[in-house]
Symmetry: C3
Subunit: 273 residues, 3 copies
């Protein structure tokens, strides 16, 4: 089911404008190159909209938020909306500071995001207007388990319906939903949490899948989440006894580089709710 999404990505090689953060920008760029897309990073208000207009997708990430970059994010978001290309929001750390919460909410008001990807604490913050995000990680109380999954799915669908976006909540179990249908995804490995920026990279990967599959955003986002999780599993199997989180980081990107549509099709583990 997701194989055609990856085939389209490999075939179309979309150019993605990423307004990223300085901690993970390099990994984001290499992740985009790994999946066959082409990255361009630009966050000065004097050029950001023009750069977006060259591209087939936009990813906006507030991971090291600077107030003077917010106008660039808005201008690029509007340029993406005007051109009709997918815009993806990663509200990193929304709930951890007022600035991040307020900025994420402002972005949601001024730009129509096609996909929103974050952890459950971040997404709850967007939905409720305030939150208790544990730094850049989800609050431990927000872990999704088998027991809390139905409520989480209902919450994600409702937020998707309200915003009109596909919402991708990643965690122990990932949930990708629009207002009507949710994919619950079981791929991934806990060690991914020991590599900085796997969420940021996934956001870029999601923008690439969405850019290549603009008519099927829910499937595209779910394919990206499955691909990232599966590559986390494949990379984990490759670890030698001395390999730690730095080697793991490289192996995850390497795995995306080699990922085939067939591998993705066979390796995904999800259910539809």
């Amino acid at each position: 089911m997701f194989a055609p999404c990856l085939e389209a990505l490999h075939r179309k090689k979309p150019m993605i404008h990423a307004i990223s953060n300085y901690v993970t920008a390099n990994d984001c760029a290499n992740m985009l190159l790994a999946c066959g897309a082409s990255p361009i990073m630009a966050d000065d208000p004097g050029e950001s909209a023009e750069i977006t207009a060259l591209c087939q997708g936009l990813a906006v990430n507030i991971g090291t938020l600077h107030q003077h970059t917010v106008p660039a994010m808005i201008a690029s978001g509007r340029a993406a909306n005007a051109k009709g290309i997918p815009a993806v929001l990663d509200p990193v750390g929304a709930g951890a500071s007022k600035l991040r919460t307020v900025t994420a909410l402002q972005l949601l008001r001024e730009v129509r995001f096609d996909v929103i990807r974050g952890n459950l604490s971040e997404i709850k913050t967007l939905a409720l207007g305030s939150g208790a995000t544990h730094g850049v990680d989800a609050d431990p109380g927000d872990a999704v388990t088998g027991e809390t999954l139905p409520a989480a799915v209902a919450f994600v669908k409702a937020f998707a319906a309200r915003t009109g976006a596909v919402v991708a909540v990643t965690g122990n179990i990932d949930i990708v939903a629009d207002g009507s249908t949710a994919y619950c995804i079981y791929n991934g490995h806990p060690m991914m949490g020991r590599v900085t920026g796997t969420g940021c990279q996934l956001t870029c990967l999601t923008a690439a899948f969405a850019a290549a599959n603009p008519g099927h955003l829910r499937e595209a986002a779910a394919a990206a989440v499955c691909a990232m999780g599966l590559c986390g599993e494949l990379a984990h199997r490759r670890l030698g006894p001395l390999d730690g989180n730095a080697s793991y980081r490289n192996y995850i990107i390497d795995a995306v580089y080699h990922l085939t549509p067939e591998q993705l099709e066979e390796g995904t583990r999800y259910e539809v709710r």
Copy 2:
């Protein structure tokens, strides 16, 4: 003697606010994750104090100094002081430009740093008010040898006494001292100087050790310096014939990921003066 410090770090998993630089921020984040801590990077004056207040430790690094970030550094330093959590200063390149020297001195005046970590040229600059740092490396005339060690130890203790901070001077021989006692540490490998940001990473590691051992800052800082040096040695032994400084960089972080309290206890080489 340092094993309990690492045990506490693994157990407490402190969240560390790192105001880093854009060259080494990714490695700093992965180093913090490797040792069991959790990183958050934020350097906008509009949120930095609030982010610090969420954390158990703060690391401030002036490696790619921007004037508009200095208020964020001061606000975060004061928030750390107010909350009573360890604040660590890395005065990268103090002595190499007036801006860095003046900023480092300003930070020392406005914030009470619990640990200051730098090379000897940087620390001399702080102590004397001006310096001759060789870019971001120590001036060759500032190399610590067996012969110059006693004078260097006396200098570091005096500066520690004057500032009330634990001072960690890293180089060929590392010196970690408060006003009364110095650890002279012989771990490490010269090739670490061929990897960018090993100093920045050590500063973050020091903040993590300090955050997990707030009652024993001198031991915590010495444990961090020993751990970094030991992991430099372990990673060097792992190098294959084609591995250079890029692979070495990954292996050092990998070694921290796997470092056990027992390994640290057995592998440290130091004397107390």
Copy 3:
């Protein structure tokens, strides 16, 4: 012919001031350390000229251009000119936005660059005053083939004559020329395009070669381009079946770390036109 250039670089270990971008700064720093140089990154107008004056070479890169950094670029360029040390320009994405085009042209007016390195679309933009760069990659119509090589060589020589700079155009076939002589270089591997920042890294490597060989800038720039391409080949041979672009990135830097003058001499493939 290029062996003495690398020998000089290994012997002199120049300090290079890199005004880079936040996507590739870490790789640029490790590339400089790999070749034996010493990097310092600084882009605040309050210190940039002072930092340049400490160094033996300057590399200016507009990869994530911020308007407030432009004065730092100009001040550093003038400091390099005043001191008589090589200044290298990498006009990343010139032609992709007005801001980048205008800034690159302004830099060319206000600073005398000794070497300009970019892809053909970027260099055409500088020559013609406007362009159609495909994001940060060359426009596909600008690919240099055997057929278009003579015209491309003539164009590069003419632009070099007009600017007084050595011009290094990298692509499928690389061209390094001053007004009279061009090296056409056949080293490299297409997979280098799947690693972010190989161009940025080459610009820094070029600054290092130029700083160590200030009397032979054309040879120095050609040696840097050959070295980067050759290391791309060596690193590609090292790839295992699971290695992708992330491991490749490390292996390229590793290969530069180990590159000997003899290897460079034997491995280069070029012709003089």
